[in-house]
Amino acid sequence: MGSLSLAMAELDEKRVLELVKIALLEGKSPLEIVEECRQGLKVVGERYSWGEYFLSDLIMSAEIFQEVLRVLEPYLPISLPSGEQPNKADIVFGTVEGDIHDIGKNITISLLRCEGFRVYDAGVDIPPDVFVSLLQETGAKVLALSALLTSSFEAMRRTVQLVRMMAPKLPPVRIIIGGLVNERVCQYVGADAWVREAGEGVAICRRWLGMRVVRGQAGGLGAL
């Protein structure tokens, strides 16, 4: 692992930004730099999954990466790499109708994007039919639903039911729920999997979707 990846893994913000500037002076391409940072972020994700890092560290790593992107912005290509369609996604992710919690959702989306997944962030308080349209538009094979209220169980259930009902018109979709959930809630709403923390969610998506080829381009990472 290079020194930039290492500094990122250690969450050493000052050092990361110094190294990014040096790399630019040395003539490294912004995409190479982004890729090095991403390697470091991957280590952060791993350390989180085995309990060495915490939510605070995840949030900090995403923040440092944002800083890096801000530095690199003038150097990054504006157009998406060939073959990449802007509205295609692997995962549609949102908080269900009536629920506006977004912290867990945002952190998990950051981690998923570090892994190279294309995630469509639907936002919060999303009605079932909007999820269905988003699945149609993006062609996503995974729907991730977040909910932090017991009263949201019904909204999750309605969403899952509608997606199942619309199945003939959609690509095959697997549904994962997260937040205030467990096996019981999963069965009740009819989802395929449930998670209480971000790392597990990423592992499940990796199992379902396979490892994504790391593109290392702005299009895949810019919105982290």
């Binding site: 913000e13 605070s56 900090m60 506006i100």
Partner: protein, 436 residues
């Protein structure tokens, strides 16, 4: 000293001297319930049985068939709903109607910090916090220098649309000699500031209308033999900053980017958090001070961060309340498994810890000699389980955490909409399996 103060506070509360009881039976029942809680808390005597006090949020409203919109706007119907819940289910203590805050009050002030039915959430869903950076990273010095001034001139104008013009107010500490007085009052002549005060007057009237109904519910329920579960409320200094000032994202960054400022601000807020707990509990004549804990849960902070940023000032708040004879009631949302060894550094019989996802066997082992435990029937089980499953869970939990006293049976989280039969199963369990 703290020991005697606590004994006196708890004994006075259990006596219910200022309560107008409807009859002798109600008086006897009130004392019996309060003493049951007192014994569970103090760890000196084993109570007659495990007390049961579910952490009801908006359950009484749902149970009475009200929407949450009704509960926040129709105070009279909400008051009736609260009484119906307590009288129908007979918990050992109830949580007051303050959990259904007055919608019109917040409308008048154009409150931005929360969404509620009619203002961003559907009528049947609970109010929810809308997290944002209501305090900016570079504003720590303003907060540290003069917290009240920060609240009045920076924070309130951001969370209440109607108080936006309070940004224009002058600091009151500049009112000194006769020639140094008038200028501080100029902003009060501005039309927009006067409009803000009109809104405050109207909100004040609405608050009184609501509070008088809340207090009539308390009088009625206590008069019929049911103690309130809590007297006062306060928060951990880290959560004061992390929940509603800087937000989760903001405070997490601050631990890395400006740790010294954050620590200083936490210190500045500590005596204010103690003051809040003491004044609210004393005015209620009830020693239990509810402290919901958020950002210190397992997974949020590392052990080092918890020990550096979260625990020291929370412990000071706890000790400050204990010093006044009060009983801090810590509602540890999420898991506290990795914190048990840290939080057990407290005097014996002075606190209650209500756990959600914490392993209750380990909690009893590590904390059981120091504090009364409470909890932790999962909110998911209460929402989706059957009455029999709930009874099975409670029986096991009582055997585990209730051994030798020092335990209050409750839910692990706040109960909103559940099947009433599940509430009944929870409350009956203490009576069925909880006798010592």
């Amino acid at each position: 000293m703290a020991e005697e103060r606590q004994e006196r506070m708890l004994a006075l509360w259990a006596e219910g001297q200022n309560i107008q009881f409807v009859n002798e039976e109600a008086k006897r029942a009130y004392k019996e319930r309060a003493i049951r809680l007192k014994d569970a808390i103090q760890l000196k005597k084993v109570p007659d049985r495990v007390p049961v006090c579910p952490l009801t949020g908006l359950f009484p409203a749902y149970y009475a068939g009200l929407t949450i919109k009704d509960a926040m706007y129709d105070y009279e119907r909400t008051a009736a709903a609260w009484q119906k819940y307590v009288l129908d289910f007979q918990p050992d203590a109830y949580i007051g109607m303050f959990l259904a805050p007055p919608g019109r009050f917040f409308e008048v002030l154009d409150y931005r910090l929360y969404r509620w039915p009619g203002r961003g959430t559907p009528p049947h869903t609970s109010y929810q916090c809308f997290e944002a950076e209501y305090m900016k990273a570079e504003e720590y010095d303003i907060l540290i220098q003069d917290p009240s001034d920060f609240w009045i001139r920076v924070y309130l104008p951001r969370i209440f649309g109607a108080l936006k013009s309070w940004e224009k107010l002058a600091p009151f500490t500049e009112v000194l000699e006769i020639v140094m007085t008038c200028s501080s009052f100029l902003p009060f002549g501005f039309p927009e500031v006067q409009a803000a005060f009109q809104a405050v007057f109207e909100a004040g009237k609405e608050a009184i209308r609501w509070a008088s109904i809340v207090s009539s519910v308390d009088q009625a329920l206590q008069g019929q033999g049911f103690p309130a579960f809590f007297g006062g409320v306060t928060k951990a200094p880290f959560d004061i900053i992390g929940d509603t000032l800087r937000g989760t994202h903001g405070i997490m960054m601050d631990m890395y980017r400006r740790p010294e400022k954050l620590l200083k601000a936490l210190d500045v807020l500590t005596p204010l958090a103690i003051r809040m707990g003491v004044s609210s509990a004393k005015s209620a004549g009830h020693p239990l001070v509810f402290i919901p804990l958020h950002k210190g849960a397992d997974g949020f902070l590392s052990d080092k961060q918890f020990r550096t940023f979260y625990w020291p000032t929370l412990k000071k708040v706890i000790m400050g309340l204990i010093e006044e004879g009060l009983v801090p009631f810590l509602f540890a949302e999420g898991g506290y498994n990795s914190r048990l060894e840290i939080i057990c550094d407290l005097p014996k019989g002075k606190t209650v810890w209500l756990f959600e996802h914490t392993d209750m066997a380990r909690a009893k082992e590590v904390l059981g000699d120091v504090a009364c435990l409470a909890g932790n029937v999962p909110i998911t089980l209460l929402t989706l389980g059957t009455p029999q499953e709930i009874k099975d869970y409670c029986k096991h939990l009582i055997n585990l955490a209730g051994k030798g006293g020092g335990f209050i049976l409750s839910s692990g989280g706040v109960i909103d909409k559940i099947n009433p039969e599940n509430m009944r199963a929870l409350i009956e369990s203490a009576k069925e399996f909880g006798s010592y």
